[in-house]
C-alpha cells in the first residue's frame, strides 16, 4: 500500500459523502463498484479522486445490478469491496445482496436514503429501512447500521467492513440524503490509532494450490436441489446470525431511567428526538430517548425493558411506520401504547416533536 490516507486523528468540516469516502480509505477498502445516483454520487467522486493515490480500484458499472454483483465478485476475490446507492438503485441492488446473504459474502453497501417510492425525490427520507433490512427473497440475515452524525458515519463505515468480514453477513450503512449533503465537524482517524484492528480478508476463490490435487476446489453455489438441503444451510446461517446478534446489536439511550415517555428514532432523526427530550426535561417533563444503532439485528430486548417502565412510547421517523413496525414487533404483548409521528420523506425538527407530544398529551 502507498502511504496511509489518514494518520492519527484529524478534525475536519466536510459533507457526509466525503466522510464515507475517507472512512472507506481509512478502513483499507480495496475497490469500489458504483453506478451514479443522487444523493450518493459524491462518495464515488471523492473515492475516484483519492483511490489512485492510495492504489485502490474503482469501476463504474452499467447499473446497480452490475455494481452489486461486481461487489460480490470483489469480495469473492478476497478484497474489501464496497458499493453505494440509494432509492431505485437500492431496489436493484437487492438481487446481488440476496446472493450475498445466501452465500455469506461480506459485501458492504452504503445507502443514502432518498424519497420513495419510485424516483420520488433525490433529497432525503428514511423509507429504505424495510428494503435494506429485509430486501431480497430471504430472511434479512444482514447487519444494518444507522448512524446519526458524521462522526458515526465515519466510525460505522469502518465498522461495517469489520462486521462483514468477521461475521460474514452482508453489511449496510444506512445513511440518508441529509447526512450525505450536510457539512458538520467530524474527527477522522486511522483505525489503528483508535485501537481498531481491521478484520483480515481472505479470498474465497483464486486460492493457492492446484485445485483437485493439492486442495479441494472451492465450489460455491446458491442453488439447491431439495427443500431439506436449503433448509439445513439456511438454519445454520440463521442460528449463527442469532448467536452473533448479541455481539453486533447496538443502541443509544438518554434520560431513560425515570422516563414516562420514551421517544424512539433512528439515524439523523434521532438528533431531533434527543433535542426534543432535552427541551422537555428542561420544562420538567419526564421524557427519555432510545435509538437503535443497529436496525438489523434490532435491539428489541433492551427496548422492551425500557418500554415496560414507560407510560407512553412515541416513534418518530421520516417514513410511514417502517421503524414503528419493528418496534411493535419487538414489543409484542406489551401494553404500553405506541404513537407514531410519521413523516414520510420529510425532515423532522425538535420543535415539531415537542409540539406533537403536547398535542397528543403523551406526557
Amino acid at each position: 500500500m502507498a502511504t496511509r490516507p489518514v494518520t492519527g486523528e484529524q478534525r475536519a468540516f466536510m459533507t457526509g459523502n466525503e466522510v464515507v469516502a475517507w472512512a472507506a480509505l481509512a478502513a483499507g477498502a480495496d475497490i469500489m463498484y458504483g453506478y451514479p445516483i443522487t444523493p450518493q454520487n459524491e462518495i464515488m467522486h471523492y473515492w475516484t479522486r483519492m483511490a489512485s493515490k492510495y492504489e485502490r480500484g474503482f469501476l463504474q458499472t452499467e447499473d446497480e445490478i452490475a455494481a452489486g454483483f461486481a461487489t460480490v465478485g470483489g469480495v469473492l476475490a478476497g478484497k474489501r469491496a464496497f458499493t453505494a446507492t440509494a432509492g431505485p438503485g437500492n431496489v436493484l441492488m437487492q438481487e446481488a445482496m440476496a446472493m450475498a446473504e445466501m452465500m455469506r459474502l461480506p459485501t458492504v453497501v452504503v445507502v443514502t436514503q432518498r424519497g420513495g417510492p419510485s424516483t420520488a425525490t433525490v433529497i432525503y427520507s428514511q423509507q429504505e429501512l424495510n428494503l435494506t433490512c429485509f430486501g431480497g427473497n430471504g430472511e434479512g440475515l444482514r447487519i444494518v447500521y444507522s448512524p446519526s452524525s458524521h462522526d458515526e458515519l465515519f466510525l460505522y463505515t469502518i465498522k461495517a467492513f469489520n462486521s462483514a468480514w468477521k461475521y460474514r453477513f452482508p453489511t449496510f450503512v444506512l445513511g440518508d440524503g441529509y447526512q450525505s449533503k450536510m457539512r458538520e465537524p467530524v474527527t477522522i482517524f486511522d483505525p489503528e490509532a483508535r485501537g481498531i484492528t481491521m478484520e483480515p480478508c481472505r479470498p474465497m476463490v483464486g486460492l493457492p494450490g492446484l485445485p483437485g490435487e493439492e486442495r479441494d476446489p472451492a465450489h460455491l453455489r446458491n442453488t439447491y436441489n431439495l427443500e431439506d438441503e436449503l433448509y439445513e444451510v439456511l438454519m445454520t446461517a440463521i442460528k449463527e446470525y442469532e448467536a452473533i446478534a448479541p455481539q453486533v446489536v447496538e443502541w443509544d439511550t438518554y434520560a431513560v431511567d425515570d422516563a414516562e415517555l420514551l421517544i424512539i428514532a433512528h439515524g439523523v432523526v434521532s438528533r431531533a428526538a434527543r433535542a426534543a427530550v432535552v427541551s422537555l426535561r428542561e420544562r420538567g417533563f419526564k421524557a427519555g430517548y432510545f435509538r437503535p444503532v443497529t436496525l438489523r439485528p434490532f435491539p428489541a430486548e433492551t427496548l422492551r425493558t425500557l418500554a415496560a417502565r414507560a407510560r407512553n412510547l412515541m416513534v418518530v421517523e421520516s417514513a410511514y411506520g417502517q421503524l414503528k413496525r419493528q418496534v411493535q414487533a419487538g414489543l409484542y404483548g406489551l401494553e404500553t401504547p405506541v404513537t407514531g409521528y410519521l413523516r414520510p420523506g420529510m425532515g423532522i425538527t425538535p420543535e415539531e416533536i415537542v409540539e406533537f407530544v403536547h398535542a397528543k398529551e403523551l406526557i
Binding site: R183, E184, A272, E352
Partner: protein, 188 residues
C-alpha cells in the same frame, strides 16, 4: 457564550448563497463552534431558487433543517416568496434593498427587517461579483459571533487559489466584507 443561531439564505443560482453559507459555517467551525450547513438540492436544481440552511451553536446541532430561522436572507424576487415558510415573528429578514416592494407585498410592514443595498454598492463602488461577500459581511456584522480574522481565513480557504492569481481580487473581497460588516454592525 451560549449561541444557537439558525440562518436560511435564498437566491438565484449564481448569486452565491451557497458560498456565503459555506464560508460562515467554515469560519464558525474554525472558531470552535458547532456548525452545520446543508444546501437544498433537488432534480430541478438548475432552474430553482437556491436555499442554504446554516446553524451555528455552542451545543451539537440537532436536525439539519429547521422550521423557523433567526435570520432569513432573500436575494431575489423568487427568493422572497420561497423563504416565507422559514420566517417567523421574531425572524430578522435580510434582503437586497431593490426588493423592497416584493418584501412589503409578502410580509407587510411589521416584519423585523434589514434592507441591504448590496447590488448598488457592488456595482457602483466595487464589482458585481462581490455582491455575496457584502451579504456575508452583513451577516457577520449582525450576528457578532465571529472575529473578522476567522472570516478572512475562511475566505482564503474558499477563494485563495483565485486570490493567488489576482491579488487585487483579495483586496476587493476584503473591502466588500468590511463594507457589509459595517452595515451589519449599525443594525446590531
Amino acid at each position: 457564550m451560549s449561541l444557537n443561531l439558525k440562518i436560511a439564505l435564498a437566491g438565484e443560482g449564481g448569486q452565491g448563497v451557497q458560498s456565503v453559507a459555506e464560508i460562515i459555517t467554515e469560519a464558525a467551525y474554525q472558531a470552535g463552534f458547532q456548525a452545520l450547513y446543508i444546501p437544498n438540492f433537488g432534480v430541478e436544481q438548475r432552474g430553482g431558487v437556491s436555499v442554504a440552511f446554516v446553524q451555528v451553536s455552542s451545543e451539537p446541532v440537532s436536525a439539519p433543517k429547521f422550521t423557523t430561522g433567526d435570520i432569513v436572507v432573500a436575494l431575489s424576487h423568487r427568493a422572497v416568496e420561497r423563504v416565507r415558510q422559514y420566517v417567523g415573528e421574531k425572524t430578522l429578514l435580510v434582503y437586497e434593498a431593490g426588493l423592497e416592494d416584493d418584501v412589503r407585498q409578502v410580509y407587510g410592514e411589521r416584519q423585523r427587517r434589514l434592507a441591504v443595498p448590496a447590488l448598488a454598492i457592488a456595482q457602483e463602488e466595487m464589482h458585481p461579483r462581490v455582491f455575496n461577500v457584502i451579504i456575508l459581511g452583513v451577516l457577520v456584522g449582525v450576528t457578532g459571533f465571529l472575529e473578522r480574522r476567522d472570516v478572512e481565513q475562511a475566505l482564503e480557504r474558499q477563494f485563495g487559489h483565485k486570490f493567488a492569481q489576482d491579488p487585487d481580487l483579495r483586496e476587493l473581497n476584503y473591502r466588500a466584507l468590511e463594507r457589509g460588516y459595517e452595515i451589519g454592525r449599525e443594525n446590531l
